[in-house]
Symmetry: C2
Subunit: 471 residues, 2 copies
Amino acid sequence: MTALFNRTHAGQTALPAQFQEAMSALLEARFTMSLPVREHHGKDESPFGIIAPDAVAFVNSTDEVAAVIRLCGQHRVPVIPFGAGTSIEGHFLAPHGGISLDLSGMNAVIAVHAEDLTVTVQAGVLRKQLNEEIKHTGLFFPIDPGADASIGGMCATRASGTNAVRYQTMRENVLALTVVTPEGKIIQTGTRARKSSAGYDLTRVYVGSEGTLGIITEVTLRVFPQPEALSAAVCAFPTVASAVQTVIETIQMGVPIARVEFVDALSIRAINRHDKLDLAEMPTLFFEFHGSASGVAEQAETVQQIAAGNDGHRFEWATHPEDRKKLWNARHSAYFAALQLKPGCKAVVTDVCVPISRLAECVTATDADLQASSLPCPIVGHVGDGNFHVIILIDPHKPEEREEAEGINARIVERALAMEGTCTGEHGIGMHKKEFLRTEQGDDALDVMRAIKRALDPMNLLNPGKIFELD
Amino acid sequence: MTALFNRTHAGQTALPAQFQEAMSALLEARFTMSLPVREHHGKDESPFGIIAPDAVAFVNSTDEVAAVIRLCGQHRVPVIPFGAGTSIEGHFLAPHGGISLDLSGMNAVIAVHAEDLTVTVQAGVLRKQLNEEIKHTGLFFPIDPGADASIGGMCATRASGTNAVRYQTMRENVLALTVVTPEGKIIQTGTRARKSSAGYDLTRVYVGSEGTLGIITEVTLRVFPQPEALSAAVCAFPTVASAVQTVIETIQMGVPIARVEFVDALSIRAINRHDKLDLAEMPTLFFEFHGSASGVAEQAETVQQIAAGNDGHRFEWATHPEDRKKLWNARHSAYFAALQLKPGCKAVVTDVCVPISRLAECVTATDADLQASSLPCPIVGHVGDGNFHVIILIDPHKPEEREEAEGINARIVERALAMEGTCTGEHGIGMHKKEFLRTEQGDDALDVMRAIKRALDPMNLLNPGKIFELD
């Protein structure tokens, strides 16, 4: 698997001259074969090397996407959709060459239907931008992967984040998509109705398809009223197990908690340095409660009791908006803070998700495994969903560290699958987890996925080489 | 369209003798060609005539389903999965002959993982049975279509019901399926993890596929803690518009209401007769609040204020469990109560769902349209989702009444689509709404569905003739 990522790709496929001419005629300077631009589009946030596309096309509209896709079809040129470039599983790499289709220019919020709690946006809109633009309506969009990802990319990887325990994931919060099919047709996959039984669930065929079935150009999302009251707290625990047990009991009691994040002692050290905080360097939970004033107070009271029963320390409250923001910025920057623990390092990030009853066991066994490693391995996690990440810090110039990291990852996945969990809670498969997907789903289920892929993209032009091998 | 339903089918395709022998060898007396059994399996709760399958196979396990499907493939015999027989869109009719695959014997609750809030059941388990069997764990499964449907059937039509406003629909509450593919392979579509980004969302490819892509034999569902407190109330309103406006404001304020159901004056009359109640015969909302004791009180207070602002009468509370049960039984029996308004009648039931901001306009315009009809047309609805049903009562022996009902239905659908809604919120397409689906989705989106169908079921043996035409 490693071999795939080892070379710097600097143009393997000569794009047909006629294709180049047609693309230049269509997009003018927005079609480019400049090496720096290609290299920027041939890497992601992962430690994998660059595998650059042969050209990059910057598109501004669904019609332009359709025109590009038709040209790609005519000339058999692969297409890799590109949003904010924040994938960590090799989604943008171009092992089969072709063009990167950059949708970042499609960044308009098209419609805000505040009265229906829906918005429609172009795929290149970033999640923070969306929340800025709808703030004045009293609404917010809760899905928040660590990076400031694009909404289209978040659809493509079925992303989630810290709010999923209450507000769920992209799977549940996308109402409809505009998609350009591999033949260059433009379809709508749904309506603005909150629910529907109208035929196959095309929306969810494309959500999570990682750009392999169609190009998502517009997205209709559910949004939510900003809670009337909101409070946040951190609580330190003597052990990983006691922190995780607190989460398990909270979920099992049905407390409608908005966020509950686990951050291990090493991550706290990284965060303290990066964000100039002085949190106790112990296994810690970050909590957030949303609701009415009395509802929030009640939830907080219940969770404090559960935490106390598990030897949790006193809750440290962040009630002022600026304190709360500081706290959650620190949580969101955990990944970047972790990178600073080892100068010049890159991270291999694991992403398993297990049934909540197995979470303490899975995290504890993982923690024990990590003790034997020479690599720094901070752990953070959306533990309310049973999802956690080990951020394995490696020197990208030392293949043996990469290998050790992949070994840790493989053992975590094996552990999670044995506990009826999944190899990826929110990051997707990309190029990196294809073998894990096969183990998780089995060959027969994978054959169903492949049959869908072949039916919708018979020439295998959309993001080829991702999710599974076709042959 | 009407012509499809006009004949009583009494065996058009002679099943191959070898197939009959092999099926009898496999299932013994559980494979039958008895006419009454076939006719029972060739009709549903709709006013459409019987179109019976050529035989019925009663299966007891996933392996048996796989064996039957392989035989059907060898002999090119169509297969129509059958659960509780409660469809109302012609899902079970056999216009291409073949066998009905009756899964009602697969009615075991396989596993209850109370600590993970999941259960795994065989597809033939009925929704009321499931709730009986898990009651002692303190959990419940909220999805409640009017009929006591099977969980497999509810998956197949992407069902919902009165609790969907808070607990959502089958789309969101199915974690994983066991599916027998048209080649007779057995696959798992997911794990028990709460979220996953592991490849295409096969679970949601099958949820809503109406038995046309694979046979669902086992289902892993999310279940929920029974709320600590629970209260229910009814409130009468002077007009349809004022009732619906109350719902719109409740949803827009983000009140986490568990149920809010609209029942029009004519439906109240029917319910009063059927359930021996004496509710005011006016447009009425049925409410239910779930949460902590103080949370429920707070929600109820907020909604009462909204209702008062819309000229709602005083709330009539049903706080005792038996009163609450009586109230909701009455709401659930609205369909059967309505049938008694017109002795010997059958119902054509509409099922549109619109964005909530358009709901008052859609219901009011529909109400005005119904005034011009000679047919009794009570209205009920899951209005918190923007979904409502007109129960159009027709004499099945008078084609002109059928025609009038279909005209009303077509106008309601047209109205809903113009308001960015869907032709079916929860009943599915079946044979009845194929043309509406085409209008709603467009030919290009329908072509994507057809491509998926052809890829997964190339011989078109699974429930042929449903959702769309293949040719």
